[in-house]
Symmetry: C2
Subunit: 147 residues, 2 copies
DNA sequence: TCATTCTGAAACAACAAATATTGTAATGTC
DNA sequence: GACATTACAATATTTGTTGTTTCAGAATGA
């Protein structure tokens, strides 16, 4: 199963906000057109991001403001904001293994540590990338020729 | 979004097959009862695992045989067998970003490398655990007192 | 004050994936 | 051939994602 597109869409949003901040007003309609989806979907994600304190959305007038320096927002911050998994576990267990079975009643204590370590490996790598890397990468790709 | 329970169920299956191999015949019904789900679900996963060459299911007579030494089957092998993600990408992009937007047409080349690196961090950690670790852990937990 | 523009939120539909349930056919052993 | 078991197909239920519509509220500027 893939991780939902909300994560990559959120990164796309940040990229747009940063890139267009001096060029034009960035609204949910504008973003929806760049991402090629509908404005409500964008607003839902914007809601999650602002609830997490990563940006602020101006009501009425429109426009989006990133609340922290780009290098202080990691991919993990964004991921956690838009993928609210219950109790934070990446891996889903089948509920209620049979307690009468020696394997069934011990499977959790057997696997939990290992699964957590796998999840941590992913999240630690997510911490290594920040929105500033996106800004920088975008500058390199687009350079002068593609604006 | 969580990764489907097929992965943890598959690990549970291997744990049972190993633990009960000398004690009783392990059938899909037996497994379903330990995991507390239905036999068909188990069979589908068994089908994926045997298609991947990790085990062999005896038809008619019943019983399951692991085809390789436990230490030669990693968590990643199991994961890949039961989570067949199209083109192997963990992260889902929204399709067709707007090519008329400088961000939209570059978002993929901007993010792909970073996302792949995150995915690789997870998969590399998965390679570090093998089914032998499960057998060992189960032996420690259950020890002599819990059989 | 009023019109405009925009966001926030709710309701609903379409769709896909995960899981459960059931029935039937095929297979291997005895 | 009888039996136990798996394989396969069809279907239902639930849940999550995404799209669509609608309406109320907030900021701004004329």
């Amino acid at each position: 199963m893939q991780i939902s597109s909300r994560f990559t869409v959120a990164l796309h949003i940040f990229a747009c906000v940063e890139y267009f901040k001096d060029k034009c007003k960035v609204t949910s309609d504008f973003l929806a057109s760049s991402i090629n989806t509908n404005p409500v979907f964008i607003r839902r994600i914007l809601g999650q991001l602002s609830k997490a304190g990563l940006l602020k959305v101006m009501r009425g007038t429109g426009g989006i403001e990133i609340t922290r320096p780009l290098k202080d927002i990691t991919f993990l911050d964004v991921y956690k904001a838009v993928e609210p998994i219950e109790d934070g576990a990446l891996f889903h267990f089948h509920e209620n293994p049979n307690p009468a079975c020696p394997v069934g009643r011990n499977i959790h204590s057997l696997l939990d540590g290992k699964l957590l370590s796998i999840q941590n490996a992913m999240e630690d790598r997510m911490k290594e990338y920040t929105l500033d890397d996106i800004r920088e990468g975008l500058g390199e790709i687009i350079g002068g020729k593609d604006s």
